[in-house]
């Protein structure tokens, strides 16, 4: 039974909620009549100047899951913001690819600062997002010089790459291992860890995949990798810990598998406390890369496209190099002598990068299914 006053209260609450929610949902429209959401290149929308003007009018850009020390994204965001006077909202810096996809799905109808404009995802998520209609095709001006497994229509494209390395804290390891095979030794008991649970982390899953190739497996056979880690686990060499900067800095997980750019960023962050050595394993040269894409539901469609233009400009590509990531236009940059020797030294040997093994999308899918099914039998403790 409601009194009139109670009803009034209820109504007030609902109205307030409605106003708040609507306010969150409103977003500034573009100044010109061009609908940048459907533009497949800057040229189509009237050229770079029109794109810059439209992006400035939008005034904001929402990026997602970009840690500041991952490929030097922090500096890239700051530079973009000051160069164009566009505020960059960095959402969920520590999230993963699945978070990015989910954020687009959850915000299809809303246009607030919580809806990502652009994404940077693991290789499996490019085709997946395209299939689900979550990303829009867009080709940057430098498109023809992007090297990699790009979508021919421009839905997703390689942004940067690197190789899988061993990050070794030399303060706690007397004899630095040089290969996966080396790790299978009692002297590394309780010292080896993965960067995540391979059932959840792309980086960790790829570490298992790489171990397969180091142990007689192939891109179609991840089994030896699982067996390898099973062996390490049984001997107590594998430490069931998530090796992020906390345990690594403490020296608790002295040997971890990482993408080269993360290992070098860690080394810089720790600045000698503890000492990090980055080892390129001799028995497998495993490559990794990520995809870049624009959301089909971007609240700031022009700013999203301008961000891509910025990332794939010489300036943006150089910023990635500063963060130890080999940008997709590296060959072009090198051909034109854009990078200083100092910057070049931040990347793995170009020959090593070129020769690195990279699985196809389908192979990766099959490998993931095997990891998902079997990882529990590799490390799982059964509690009786």
């Amino acid at each position: 039974m409601f009194s009139k006053r109670n009803t009034l209260f209820l109504v007030t609450i609902l109205v307030t909620a409605a106003i708040v929610l609507t306010a969150c949902g409103s977003a500034g429209g573009s100044v010109s009549n061009v609908d940048w959401n459907t533009m497949k290149s800057a040229e189509e929308g009237g050229g770079m100047e029109a794109l810059v003007a439209a992006a400035k009018a939008e005034g904001e850009l929402n990026v997602i899951t970009l840690p500041r020390d991952w490929c030097n994204y922090g500096e890239a965001m700051d530079t973009f913001a000051s160069k164009y006077g566009i505020k960059v909202n960095s959402l969920l810096p520590d999230g993963g690819s699945a978070d990015e996809i989910q954020a687009i799905i959850d915000n299809k109808e809303t246009k607030g600062p919580q809806a990502p404009d652009v994404i940077d995802v693991g290789p499996a998520y490019g085709p997946l997002a395209k299939e689900q209609g979550l990303i829009a095709p867009y080709k940057v001006e430098t498109w023809s010089t992007i090297v990699g497994t790009n979508d021919p229509d421009g839905y997703y494209y390689v942004d940067y790459s690197g190789v899988m390395v061993l990050e070794v804290v030399t303060d706690y390891v007397d004899q630095v291992p040089t290969s996966y095979a080396d790790l299978n030794n009692e002297i590394y008991k309780g010292k080896v860890a993965l960067a995540g649970d391979p059932r959840a982390s792309n980086q960790a899953a790829q570490s298992v995949y790489a171990a397969a190739l180091a142990n007689g497996g192939s891109l179609d056979d991840i089994q030896p990798g699982l067996e390898f880690f099973k062996g390490l686990n049984e001997k107590g060499i594998l430490l069931p810990l998530i090796a992020d900067s906390g345990p690594i800095g403490k020296g608790e997980t002295p040997i971890t598998f990482q993408w080269s750019w993360n290992a070098y960023a860690n080394k810089d962050n720790f600045a000698g406390n503890p000492n990090i050595e980055v080892v390129y394993p001799t028995d497998v040269n495993w490559g990794g890369y990520y995809y870049q894409a624009v959301s089909a539901y971007a609240p700031h469609p022009a700013a999203a496209r301008l961000w891509e233009e910025f990332l794939y400009s010489d300036e943006g590509q150089t910023l990635w190099v500063k963060g130890y990531c080999a940008p997709a236009r590296l060959a072009d940059l090198n051909a034109r002598g854009v990078l200083s020797d100092e910057l070049k030294a931040k990347l793995p040997d170009p020959a090593l990068l070129a020769a690195s093994i990279v699985p196809s999308g389908d192979q990766l899918k099959a490998a993931r299914a095997a990891v998902k099914e079997q990882w529990d039998s590799v490390v799982g403790l059964d509690i009786k």
């Binding site: 993963g96 689900q132 345990p247």
Partner: protein, 310 residues
């Protein structure tokens, strides 16, 4: 004797309008708003989504995931870890609570432990896991101290026999997890069981002693039957807090103790294992288990208060 009641003796009967007046309820508005937005709406959303496929159509397929052996195992491991840690934390906490209520410890000890419990019961997650790693890990602070204790034996050689890892200890195991959970479980037990222990009246003990009962008989026939619903209720609360916990276990054992909460998080936001809708179904399964736990807790609470009221 004048039996007529004077009007003033009759409690003033308020009109229904006065009792429902908004001013009486206004303090509860934030609470209900909070509950609606952060409990009821998300739970309802979860329930609906667990019956949807990727395109939003109705389906029961998400629940088929319950048949997977690794899902069944995850539920089982979660239940076992929760039971083990709630029993260990419960027993430990009970004795602490006993010491500060019925035991003859000084008053400041009681104040100290209650305050500590209030703090520790709310400490969990990754910080808790990392504090254990930093103290009892292989390179941990306490491990280092223990390892550095050396002495010469008869043959003249130095021995350092106290490294816990040489003696079968491993922090990254079920034992380590129980140790970490105990950190917040036993204080929770202290906080919930102390009032019940304080409710044990001295007269009952004296009365049974007068009737010739030994202390053991007093505990078996009087105190424990009165306390048992409280103890079980408090243990159920511990069970609930362990069952919902996730970050501590993941940070400490990296998925080798595969709890249902870890599986759900990987389904919803993992980069490899990823099907949010199955994750929702698994979460609904947890809600059902927690619902049963809370019902049992409420029923037991009711029984306790019945005993203590008389």
């Amino acid at each position: 004797m004048d039996l007529t009641l004077t009007p003033s003796a009759v409690p003033e009967k308020k009109s229904i309008w006065e009792r429902l007046s908004a001013t009486n309820w206004i303090g509860l508005v934030p609470f209900f708003a909070f509950i609606i937005f952060f409990l009821l709406l998300p739970s309802t959303n979860l329930l609906f989504k667990s019956f949807q496929d990727l395109n939003g159509n109705f389906t029961l397929n998400n629940y088929a995931v319950m048949q997977n052996p690794y899902v069944i195992k995850a539920y089982r491991v979660s239940l076992l870890v929760s039971v083990i840690t709630s029993v260990v934390g419960g027993v430990f906490g009970f004795f602490v609570a006993y010491a500060i209520t019925l035991g003859n410890t000084p008053k400041w000890m009681r104040n100290f432990l209650i305050t500590f419990s209030g703090l520790a019961a709310n400490f969990g997650g990754v910080p808790l896991a990392f504090s254990y790693i930093a103290t009892l890990g292989r390179t941990g602070f306490i491990t280092a101290i223990l390892t550095s204790i050396c002495y010469p034996v008869a043959t003249g050689a130095q021995v350092c026999p106290f490294n816990p890892y040489d003696n079968g200890f491993n922090l990254y195991s079920v034992a380590g997890l129980v140790l970490a959970y105990t950190y917040f479980q036993f204080p929770l037990m202290v906080l919930t069981i102390t009032p019940a222990l304080e409710g044990l009246r001295k007269e009952w003990r004296e009365a049974s002693a007068n009737l010739g009962a030994s202390p053991w008989q007093y505990w078996r026939d009087v105190a424990l039957p009165i306390l048992s619903p409280s103890i079980l209720g408090a243990t159920l609360l511990l069970f609930g807090s362990a069952f919902g916990a996730y970050a501590t276990a993941y940070a400490l054992t990296g998925g080798s103790i595969y709890l249902i909460t870890i599986l759900i998080s990987q389904q919803i936001r993992g980069d490899v294992l990823n099907n949010p809708y199955e994750g929702y179904a698994l979460a609904v399964g947890m809600i059902v288990i927690m619902g049963i736990t809370i019902l049992a807790y409420t029923a037991l609470q009711r029984r306790t208060s019945r005993w203590l009221k008389s």
